[in-house]
């Protein structure tokens, strides 16, 4: 693979028009990646998901050079219906459309000619890979006191032309003071066996609100890694909801730094997996100052031989008195070959805090099924109603009612 990497990297530099400064940074990142390679289970963070093995098992002849010179057709049928929204559309990793029809143009800004920074997480080889191979790196700025009128949907569409490629995207989002954004990331994959590596950096400034809904619901054979870095200032709110269901493998890593007093972070998620799918959510919520709050709720329904992993960490700095941190995960295993791994971690250096965690997993309650069947529902209907009820609880946490209904529809949840 190393030979291929070198050839593809040189080809990328040759065909692109990067600044001297960026080429220098890219080379550094490239060398770092060559040295470390894909993460494997010997790293604590990756012990439940050996990415190196997963990639070599699922992707034959992975190539790292992606020709972005020609535009791709946008399949409009993938658009979310019944919701007015702004659009950023990526097809096979190439930006095809930026459309902010609903917004005041002077209050948002999009930059794409940026100087790369050294990755802030020095141990993460996938960020090295991302920085080395990312072609354009975007930044969205929402100006002070501006709230987007409609949600922004980032479409990540891949079509059947994309096979066994490594796709790297990088996106920064800055919410200036007192601003807000509802961001839906919507994946639609018709491609096969690619490795998709996406890096988001959110800077949520004073009094700002970020709502981020990540929807991956279409069955596909891609392997995906998302690194979401969130930095929050005083009195800011971040709300993340993940529907992790469609791709063969996903690891969603969320690193959230609560840097300002009264900042709060909510991470809610659902794993709905079947077949041989294997998904992970790894969170690091860092309470760094007084009076911050975090809440995490993850629910899983696993079928066939699927596997889900939730590693949730709450870190409380010695300065962060009056921290309120909570996390809970619950899993329903519909088959004895499914697997759910939970690794809750609390690392607390302050003494006046309220932190709790819990995790449970098991099969559907047979007595509840009998109760429902004795009222005329067949086994399948009874099971569906129970699962519906189990999942509804976490979907109800979504604070935007329009998007909540959209997600209920996508998940075919009733009520």
């Amino acid at each position: 693979m190393e030979e291929q990497l070198k050839i593809d990297f040189e080809k990328l530099l040759e065909k692109s028009n990067f600044s001297k400064k960026n080429i220098e940074i890219k080379r550094k990142n490239f060398n770092n990646f060559i040295e470390k390679g894909f993460p494997n289970k010997r790293e604590e963070n990756w012990k439940f998901s050996d990415l190196n093995q997963i990639i070599s098992k699922n992707i034959k002849n992975l190539s790292f050079y992606n020709d972005l010179s020609k535009p791709n057709k946008i399949d409009q049928s993938t658009f979310i219906a019944g919701l007015e929204h702004n659009k950023l559309i990526f097809v096979n990793g190439r930006i095809e459309k930026i459309e902010f029809d609903y917004e005041e143009k002077n209050n948002i800004e999009i930059l794409d000619d940026l100087v790369l920074e050294k990755p802030n997480n020095a141990n993460n080889s996938l960020l090295f890979l991302n920085n080395a191979f990312v072609s354009k790196f975007f930044k969205l700025i929402v100006k002070k006191n501006y709230s987007l009128k409609k949600p922004l949907v980032i479409y990540n569409i891949t079509n059947k032309d994309l096979v066994s490629k490594s796709v790297n995207l990088k996106f920064d989002i800055l919410l200036e003071e007192n601003s807000s954004l509802k961001l839906i990331e919507f994946s639609n994959d018709k491609s096969t066996t690619n490795f998709i590596n996406i890096n988001y950096n959110f800077d949520v400034q004073k009094n700002s609100i970020l709502k981020n809904y990540k929807i991956d619901n279409n069955s596909n054979s891609n392997i995906k890694y998302y690194f979401n870095n969130i930095s929050q200032d005083t009195n800011s709110v971040s709300e993340i909801f993940l529907l992790s269901s469609g791709s063969e493998f996903i690891k969603n890593e969320i690193n959230c730094n609560l840097n300002g007093k009264y900042a709060s972070a909510f991470v809610n998620g659902v794993f709905l997996l079947n077949g041989s799918k294997h998904h992970e959510i790894k969170t690091n919520i860092n309470h760094l100052v007084e009076n911050t709050k975090s809440y995490q709720l993850i629910k899983s329904v696993l079928e066939d031989e699927s596997k889900a992993v939730y590693q949730g960490k709450i870190f409380v700095d010695s300065k962060a008195q009056k921290t309120d941190g909570y996390q809970l995960s619950k899993a329903i295993l519909l088959n004895e070959n499914t697997e759910f791994n939970a690794k809750p971690e609390l690392e607390i250096y302050a003494d006046d805090v309220k932190c709790s965690h819990g995790s449970s997993s098991g099969s559907l309650n047979e007595d509840s099924i009998f109760y429902l069947m004795s009222r005329g529902l067949n086994y399948k209907e009874a099971k569906k109603l129970l699962i519906n009820g189990f999942l509804l609880d976490v979907v109800e946490k979504i604070t935007d009612s329009e998007i909540k209904n959209l997600i209920k529809n996508i998940m075919s949840l009733k009520q």
Partner: protein
């Protein structure tokens, strides 16, 4: 309507019911009384189709072999069990559950399913008759309900589904006297020439309000004596231990 002949039931190779016989005709109300562990709940579980028992003998419901029917098919044919311990089902709205249940049964019987408006009209009326707090119907099924509310909810379901054979498994336990009267009135209002009831209870108290046609005494897995309502009073005076 219901004919049980020589029913034997084991669980984990322990005999619970043995040589159990009972016949219930349309319109009749039968009460089965017995001490703890006599097999009362096993009987109601077997009739409604709970798995995990080894059974032999014959149970016919309207001349159909009950053992060949799945739990939900028994419900479709008109068997209803009011649970001794109704289950809490988180995340499932009570109204939606009731509507799903009613329409599943109507559909199985070739009847038109009720739409939301028709259903709400029906459920409102039934809830009012049972003095059941309507607001509770918008909550998760039995979650946060008191013991009495859970039992009332069972009777509400019964009155909405309008079954042919209702089995009440210790519906009186955990009810205060007012709730007991309301529940009994609910049951009595459903008594018709073609509806039958099997009331399972420890005490004769409930039978003060729901007059049975027959009373049976169940001990060690079989009926040891049958008679009219007076048998319940006799039991109450003597106690189970001295009854033989």
């Amino acid at each position: 309507m219901l004919k049980i002949k020589n029913l034997k039931a084991d669980i984990d190779s322990k005999s619970i019911l043995n040589n159990f016989n009972l016949e219930i005709k349309p319109g009749e109300v039968h009460a089965i009384m017995g001490p703890n562990g006599s097999g009362k709940s096993t009987l109601s579980n077997i009739l409604s189709g709970k798995k995990g028992y080894k059974v032999s003998g014959e149970v016919l419901f309207e001349n159909k072999n009950l053992f060949e029917l799945e739990t939900e098919e028994r419900a479709h044919k008109g068997i209803f069990l009011a649970f001794q311990y109704p289950l809490e089902i988180p995340g499932v709205n009570t109204n939606i559950f009731l509507k799903t249940s009613l329409n599943a049964i109507r559909k199985a019987n070739g009847e038109k399913e009720l739409d939301a408006i028709e259903f709400l009209k029906l459920v409102k009326l039934k809830a009012k008759n049972l003095k059941f707090d309507e607001e509770k119907l918008n909550r998760q099924l039995n979650v946060g309900f008191s013991g009495g509310e859970k039992k009332k909810n069972e009777i509400l379901q019964m009155s909405i589904l309008n079954p042919k054979l209702s089995i009440l498994d210790e519906t009186d336990s955990g009810l205060d006297i007012d709730a007991l009267k309301t529940v009994a009135a609910g049951v009595n209002s459903l008594r018709k020439n073609d509806n039958s009831f099997l009331i399972i209870t420890h005490y004769q108290r409930l039978l003060d309000y729901i007059k049975p046609d027959y009373v049976h005494v169940l001990m060690n897995g079989k009926i040891i004596k049958s008679g009219g309502p007076e048998l319940a009073l006799e039991l109450e005076n003597k106690g189970y231990e001295n009854f033989n």
